[in-house]
């Protein structure tokens, strides 16, 4: 029963996302379409946190580093090599993935809090480096560029200047990314990830190379964060070192936790909730982040499985079964110290 409900909900979600540009402009021309575009992009960064924490049990506090590499990869490719939209996006993903390979080889040697610390440290190193390498990165002010067309042939020209085109391009790439992750997470590789998250010692004792498994997830997460960064660079037409600071990583982690880690779409809803909240409240209440902080603490305290956990508990209650599923982080929480 709950599987059917989930499938129906997914269809509704897909239909709603496809219809966004048709309905939201009625409320406020283009503004909300851009908000949803932004939600989709940032949800990918939250997803990269989720891939690590929700699927191999490593809490990263430094995913902004790969987001930043995605941004600069795209921005520099466009400004220096005249890359188009697709070339720029690819450059962003490649830059972030390479960085994730280098950082991951070292970082996944560690677990528990030590992993969180090393990921922050790596991101801080490159944050400071990008801040001081002003000629290349533009530092805090960032690097502006004009976005090349997405498609320009056969007399048809699609540009990001059109809010609706931009929305569908982002939606398409985001959906593609979630689709690929869905395939991966239900594959033998995904099962390995979950085994490592649940119990890394036992995973080793059934013959899984835990290090390699975590490294794979780390690189994958880096690539996803890189895609997010590249898309965000095109969305804002600029890249800035300030997006590599640990607060950005922290926010992404919060979005993932609030949405519910260990589920593919949880982080999307967490991101949506908090960004919509920001858009609605920040204009009337300057200190709305106080509420976000409080919400974060409350979620960890009372609903550590996030929105996704509340959803599945609710479904279980509706279908008459007891919602006695212990939280998915139990395994992660018992990681070796």
């Amino acid at each position: 029963m709950s599987a059917a409900v989930n499938r129906a909900a997914l269809l509704v979600l897909a239909a709603a996302l496809l219809a966004v540009p048709q309905f939201l402009p009625l409320l406020n021309a283009g503004f909300w379409t851009n908000v949803v575009t932004e939600i989709l992009i940032w949800s990918l960064l939250a997803t990269s946190v989720n891939l690590l924490f929700g699927y191999v049990g490593l809490l990263s506090f430094g995913q902004a580093l790969y987001f930043g590499f995605g941004m600069y990869g795209a921005a520099l490719a466009v400004t220096h090599w005249n890359a188009g939209f697709w070339g720029g996006t690819l450059a962003g993903i490649v830059a972030a993935t390479l960085m994730a390979v280098v950082a991951g080889v070292l970082a996944v040697r560690l677990t528990w809090h030590y992993f969180a610390i090393i990921t922050v440290v790596f991101s801080l190193i490159f944050y400071f480096a990008a801040m001081s390498a002003k000629p290349i990165t533009g530092g805090d002010d960032g690097l502006s560029f004009s976005a090349p067309p997405v498609f320009d042939a056969f007399g048809l020209k699609l540009t990001l200047a059109d809010t609706v085109t931009q929305y569908y391009v982002v939606l398409g790439l985001t959906a593609l990314c979630y689709g690929l992750l869905w395939l991966i997470l239900r594959s033998p590789l995904g099962l390995r990830f979950e085994a490592v998250r649940e119990n890394d010692r036992r995973a080793r004792l059934i013959g899984i190379n835990v290090y390699l498994c975590r490294l794979t997830a780390f690189i994958l997460a880096g690539a996803v964060a890189g895609l997010a960064g590249a898309l965000f660079a095109f969305f804002g037409r600029y890249a800035s070192a300030s997006y590599m600071f640990y607060h950005v990583s922290g926010e992404a982690t919060v979005w993932a936790i609030v949405g519910g880690v260990g589920t593919l779409l949880g982080p999307l809803f967490g991101t949506a909730l908090l960004i919509v909240f920001r858009e609605l409240v920040s204009t009337v209440w300057e200190n709305y982040l106080f509420a976000v902080g409080a919400l974060t603490v409350l979620v960890v305290m009372f609903a550590p499985r996030g929105l996704a956990g509340l959803w599945s508990d609710g479904l279980a209650k509706l279908s008459g079964r007891s919602a006695s599923q212990p939280d998915p982080q139990a395994g992660a929480a018992e990681a070796p110290r």
Binding site: L183, I184, R186, S187, P188, L189, G190, L191, R192, E194, A195, R197, E198, N199, R201, R202, A203, R204, L205, I206, G207, I208, N209, V210, S324, Q325, P326, P328, A330, G331
Partner: protein, 251 residues
């Protein structure tokens, strides 16, 4: 069979000033059920950890069925056909029983395709079903492991250990913490498995050890104190004095 099930030469491991496993050389023959006993802190579990590569040896070598295992990473040792259960039963709590076993079978088969669904592997699914049936957990195939009873978790762990078709199976206190009925079920299972696989058990329950073991090795303070058949061990004065006597005040 020519090569011994498990052979160590001068195996040593120190923790700071303490030598947990002290120059242990042993040959456990294939084709019989071997048991290692000894008081707490004798170095039995450390010894297992050295064999499975979870700890690195400071000195010495480990061979199983003629294959050198010394200081290989744990997953390579598992793939060489050495499986193990832990004293505190250890499974993948958040996964279903079927997925637990499937993960183990897939790891053994080296399957890690990133795009095919785990359910699309027919042969593996059949093997998973067989293993679950072998330990008698068919009823719980779709139940999350963390909701199983302790005895069932132990059986699931055994299924995980059997998934790689081990040539050598190390069982660390397999009946520890079990009630009489669960113990009986587990002992029957161990005897059954021992017919086709070489088994080494660490166990504190003397009744169990003396009823199932063909060969017993006594460890104390990181070294081998005595070895022989159950009858020889129970007649050994040295063992009586340092271990069997001491065991009574332990609880």
């Amino acid at each position: 069979m020519t090569a011994a099930a498990l052979e160590t030469r001068n195996l040593t491991r120190r923790f700071g000033g303490l030598t947990a496993v002290d120059d242990v050389s042993m040959t456990l023959a294939s084709g019989r059920l071997n048991a290692i006993i000894g008081p707490n802190g004798a170095g039995k579990t450390t010894f297992f950890n050295l064999v499975t590569g979870e700890l690195r040896a400071d000195a010495g070598s480990v061979t199983a069925h003629g294959v050198a295992l010394t200081n290989l990473p744990p997953h390579r040792i598992v793939r060489a056909g050495v499986s193990r259960t832990l004293q505190i039963k250890s499974v993948f709590g958040g996964l279903t029983v079927a997925d637990n076993v499937r993960a183990a079978v897939m790891a053994h088969e080296g399957v890690m395709s990133p795009f095919r669904s785990i359910l699309s592997y027919g042969a593996i699914s059949r093997r998973v079903a067989d293993l679950i049936a072998e330990v008698g957990l068919e009823r719980y195939a779709d139940t999350k492991a963390q909701t199983l009873s302790y005895g069932d978790v132990a059986l699931l762990e055994l299924a995980l250990a059997l998934a790689n078709e081990p040539k050598l199976l190390l069982l660390d206190e397999p009946v520890c913490g079990m009630g009489p009925q669960e113990t009986e079920r587990a002992v029957a299972k161990i005897k059954d498995v021992a017919r086709r696989t070489d088994v080494v058990i660490i166990e504190h329950d003397m009744e169990v050890v003396f009823s199932i073991a063909d060969h017993i090795l006594v460890m104390a303070q990181g070294a081998i104190l005595a070895e022989g058949t159950p009858a020889e061990i129970s007649a050994n004065a040295k063992v009586q004095e340092t271990y069997l006597g001491a065991a009574e005040d332990e609880d």
